[in-house]
Symmetry: C2
Subunit: 692 residues, 2 copies
């Protein structure tokens, strides 16, 4: 379908400005080497080619049908395509599910027709597709720069944005594109795999507002990310954004934090800004993954400082510490005024000889302490800035850098005279090295390169299909805390001593067995938030346990007269201090069960210090989730406090995930707080919801 040896253009037209005219013309202009068949109900000839009334009337094999006819005609056209043996169709018409119920009906009819007749469908409401090495451009855009990027987008305008950005940047371009449109048949999972399999795609660059098949998409991203970089911009991050997303594609944008975390875990580099998507994709397409130690070579202190600031701001990169030998060589090369500690500031030493800048870059690239090098300053502009006679030397320096660039260590270039403004940088562009104009975007690219190495170094995540519990929220039944503890205990989770008492006498006996002050918590299927109704007593001596039990149940009865009271749960008071955490699983409409780890206690929503990942979560992943938390500093032992037992916490996180996966009826499960202590972790409260 995407490498067709014959294309029918349904709705081909002699009228300039129509998509069906543009598609035929572009195929002819680009020299598409296989047959192009215009299809038009009445015209005998379109743009000089013989036209056919239907696809089946062509009478020769057709691989791909580009369909530019109105929405209502689509089911019939697809049926006709199927009769003609067409493999795939691209439907650009709008007026389907994105517009409401009537459109959704047309779309359902079209999908049924495609399925019945064995035709795969891209769209409808797609901006089209292109495959430039095969001279196929069906997006209606001329002058697309060619290069290693494969693009998937839920917005045609976003494709325009990245094409414009590639023009500005120079040194990069595109090989393939697919507009997902309404994802009626082919969607993100298939299209990501398609670009993942394409050898002419060096990196996948995508824009998504929502995913219809979240877990399949994660699996496709992970498959692809093992082989090549996947860079995604997620639209609809805000509520307002989400509203627009709905009216755009009919897809419901999932919760933004979950989506970002899920895509990141799957191996995608998720960019937060529209203006980062193309540069980060280009950098990842051009360079191998590399470490976080960055050397900065600047020809001015201001640029050196701003780059160092941006590096510190990423939290993922750090300034490399070049070897003493490198610094000595830099000193000899650049003279006494230069700063040869990283960031290196040549301080005018290259003003009269730009070649020295390339030599200095080579010294840094050769240093084993350096993972990546960022050049920042006037590169490409010495002749314009100082003396026109420097142009030849600049061109040579650019050539040297381009050759080094091929050698493999990332060399990111940021200049006041970027791509289009400096002809002497042509060798760098030819080597696929974009010359960027923003310090911040350049550093963002280096961060992506380092993040990719980190992701590749970890074991690939798995995203098995999971049955969706799909119960309405009001159809959920809470489990009592003892029941939750039993569930955990049955799965081998150490939950500590506890007793369920149903009478004052049982409470007294249980407290005696627990030997020391205890906590009493009401047990009732009707009480989820126990402390809100006075359902918790702390520090009760065994001698007082019977009375405390009676008081507790009386108090809860007064607060919730309708509550059925099972009894009370008794646990020993915790003596050892620790860090309060939350560990929980909830259902996401897009990605299924998602595990959350975070700062726990009563202020969870306020702190919003959480890591999330769709299940399953492995031990190394759980460890990484903890590392990303703000409370990670507390867990490591803050201000002289002992470090928490991270392996116990990690084991608990993994076990919580496994319990939920093993019990599809458990829709939500939350331990909060969990006390992460120097030895072990204690569950202080637990709740769960099940579907009946």
């Amino acid at each position: 379908m995407f490498d067709p040896h014959a294309i029918a253009v349904v709705g081909a037209s002699n009228h300039h400005g129509k998509r069906g005219n543009h598609a035929v013309r572009q195929l002819l202009d680009d020299g598409y080497p296989h047959p192009v068949y215009p299809v038009h109900p009445r015209e005998a000839c379109v743009l000089g080619l013989p036209a056919y009334p239907t696809v089946s009337a062509i009478g020769a094999p057709v691989d791909l049908a580009f369909i530019a006819t109105p929405a209502r005609s689509l089911p019939a056209v697809l049926a006709d395509c199927g009769a003609a043996g067409v493999a795939g169709a691209v439907a650009v018409a709008v007026g389907f599910a994105e517009t409401g119920d009537e459109g959704a009906r047309y779309q359902a009819e079209a999908v049924a027709a495609a399925r019945d007749h064995g035709v795969r469908l891209l769209g409808p409401n797609t901006s089209g597709c292109f495959h430039l090495p095969a001279r196929i451009n069906l997006v209606g855009l001329p002058e697309v720069p060619t290069g290693p990027l494969g693009v998937i987008s839920q917005s045609g305008n976003l494709l325009l944005s990245v094409i414009a950005a590639a023009h500005r940047l120079g040194g990069t371009g595109f090989s393939r594109y697919a507009g997902v449109g309404n994802e009626a048949d082919l969607g993100f999972p298939e299209l990501i795999d398609y670009l993942g399999d394409a050898t002419d795609v060096g990196a996948v660059c995508g824009y998504a507002e929502g995913f219809r098949r979240g877990r399949e998409t994660l699996a496709a991203i992970t498959r692809t990310a093992r082989r090549k970089p996947v860079v995604l911009l997620k639209g609809g991050q805000s509520d307002a954004g989400g509203r627009s997303a709905r009216s755009h594609t009919g897809a419901v944008a999932g919760d933004a934090t979950v989506a970002t975390a899920a895509l990141h875990a799957a191996g995608a580099e998720v960019v937060a800004r529209e203006d980062e998507l193309l540069p980060v994709s280009a950098a990842l397409a051009n360079w191998p993954a590399a470490g976080p130690r960055v050397a900065v070579l600047a020809d001015g202190g201001g640029h050196a400082t701003m780059t160092a600031d941006a590096i510190a701001g990423t939290g993922r990169l750090r300034l490399a510490e070049p070897a003493e030998a490198t610094r000595s060589r830099l000193r000899r090369l650049l003279g006494p005024a230069a700063a040869v500690h990283n960031p290196v500031d040549v301080a005018g030493a290259t003003d009269t000889d730009p070649a020295r800048f390339a030599e200095a870059a080579e010294l840094l690239l050769a240093d084993a302490e350096v993972d990546q090098v960022i050049l920042v300053g006037l590169i490409g502009g010495y002749a314009q800035r100082f003396d026109p006679t420097l142009a030849a030397a600049e061109q040579r320096a650019s050539q040297v850098l381009a050759e080094r660039a091929v050698a493999g260590k990332p060399l990111l270039v940021c200049s006041v005279y970027p791509g289009e403004r400096s002809p002497v940088l042509a060798p760098l562009a030819a080597a696929g090295v974009p010359v960027m104009s923003s310090v911040d975007v350049t550093v963002r690219c280096a961060a992506a390169i380092a993040a990719r190495q980190q992701w590749l170094a970890a074991a690939a995540p798995q995203w098995p299909p999971l049955p969706s519990p799909a119960a309405p929220p009001d159809g959920l039944r809470p489990l009592t805390e003892p029941a939750v503890r039993e569930l955990l205990a049955a799965a081998g989770v150490p939950i500590g001593p506890h007793r369920l008492a149903r009478t004052p006498a049982e409470a007294a006996q249980a407290a005696g067995e627990l030997a020391g002050p205890v906590a009493l918590k009401v047990v009732s299927p009707d009480v989820v938030h126990k402390s809100d109704v006075g359902g918790v007593r702390l520090g009760v001596a065994p001698a007082d346990a019977a009375v405390a039990y009676q008081e507790l149940l009386a108090q809860v009865s007064r607060a919730v007269p309708t509550a059925a009271l099972t009894g009370a749960l008794l646990t020993p008071m915790v003596e050892t201090p620790g860090v309060e955490l939350l560990i929980g699983v909830a259902q996401d409409a897009t990605f299924g069960p998602v595990l959350t780890v975070g700062a726990g206690g009563t202020l969870v929503e306020l702190l919003r210090d959480v890591s999330v990942q769709p299940l399953p979560v492995t031990a190394p992943q759980a460890r990484a989730m903890l590392d990303r938390l703000g409370v990670a500093r507390l867990l490591r032992g803050y201000r002289g406090a002992p470090a928490a037992d991270l392996s116990a916490v990690v084991a608990l996180i993994v076990a919580v995930g496994e319990v939920v996966l093993a019990h599809p009826d458990v829709v939500e499960l939350e331990l909060n707080p969990v006390l992460a202590q120097p030895a072990g972790a204690t569950i202080l409260d637990a709740r769960a919801f099940v579907v009946d």
Copy 2:
């Protein structure tokens, strides 16, 4: 000095590539209408002008000397300038304080010479200055686009960056520039005032790594910001950045958070990214301050969504809710496929008639519910994208938008076909409307416009000069908590009941007077962190107070055998829960006493939830500082908890600032925690440090 009617170029040269050659040539090329006097020890003629051996040999009035001779000659040249009655000198030579002790000596000599001879000095180590409307360009850069921006920079390369950015953006440019260099004489305060006074400067755009005279700089910013926008990028935000900043100008970068907060409080718009500096400056120069309600007009759902996301991400803007009448008119104009809720997505309605886009923009601009309008999409590219015959209609639409732009309500334009790529946008550029390429940067500009309105609406802050305590940290003496409380009480701060006990009997009596369980805290000039040494007892009944006193002092004696023990402070146990805050003042090397308000308790450093501002802090400013905190939600009453008594907290904040200002010997003062309760605020602990 900056509007000179005669310029001497000292170190003028016939050698192409030298600064002294370039300066003379540029003045001649630009048609500077007043005399230019080359000064050279031996040459009789430079670039066709008669040359003089010294400035005093010129024998005619000279207002400005541009000095391009080496470092060692500077004192003598300045003395000669003084003898000739020169008002100001610009010294571009390097090799002064930025290079070390020897350079610092040269610089001190130069400053002394300038002062002795009545010459104001810009530099040394400055990149120069320009004043384009007067045809004076002494930075050695040709082709600077002209426009309303005045630039101050501690880095010459940053000037190159903003010039390049202005070229890319179109529609903006520069009138004046001053490179601060080593700030040996003229520095940020004078140069900000200079640009503030200049009528041809519409906005001040600056880059600073450190400030020598922080409070004077704040005062100059506030003076200027009342009249025109001030936009600053602060370099040296990271430790590594700070290291480079030191080697660059010899200035020590102050603590990053304090600097950013201080500049913001003074009225500057502080940008965090290098690539935001020029666009934000251009937007603020072009548009009046306006409110936060933004209407988005997009010609594609993807761009609409991304813009809405970026707006939500600022935290300072919100999507406007256009009036029903506006939506009806948009519906009639754009047809049924368009989304007429904000963001407005024309959804193809303008593809064949770009004029409709301008009409839709006019409808939104006319709506009283809309403070700012962002256009995003293909503006300027319809002819390129769809049909070359649309160019004329696009040009007209651009003209209409340009005319509306003059009317005053901010109209920010972001296009896939920005400034340089689209000739049809020339009318917008001519009206001073930059067409940006980044959605994120465009939204950042709107946020700056809204922030300026907010700042202008508040009373102007005052930055009186303050004597610096300037004591070394090890020369500070701690005050005991009772002494701190007396200090606060003397200033009229309600500090609640408390008693100092010096014997067990006094403790018993004090506890009886306080009538209820009390807290006992050791009082010792040698113990600052009381709980770390077991110096705190909580919930002591009056009957137990004598014994608790003895145990407390014995415990502290064991922990700190050398501590002199004064006794114990008794306070009532606090019954009413509240939100823990920190209120403190510490000295900043650049800005003097800085007040900090934040989330309090033991995890202050971990949470880093703080607002800071140099003193003085007024009540409205204190209120705004609280509003910016993460714990603001808690203070407002979170999850059913009662709201805190904000006016009590505000009064306490203001009082703490006043106490420090009234007692210059009090270098640091910290109340932590302060419990912000539903009625009032209780100081739970307090400490202070004084110089003797």
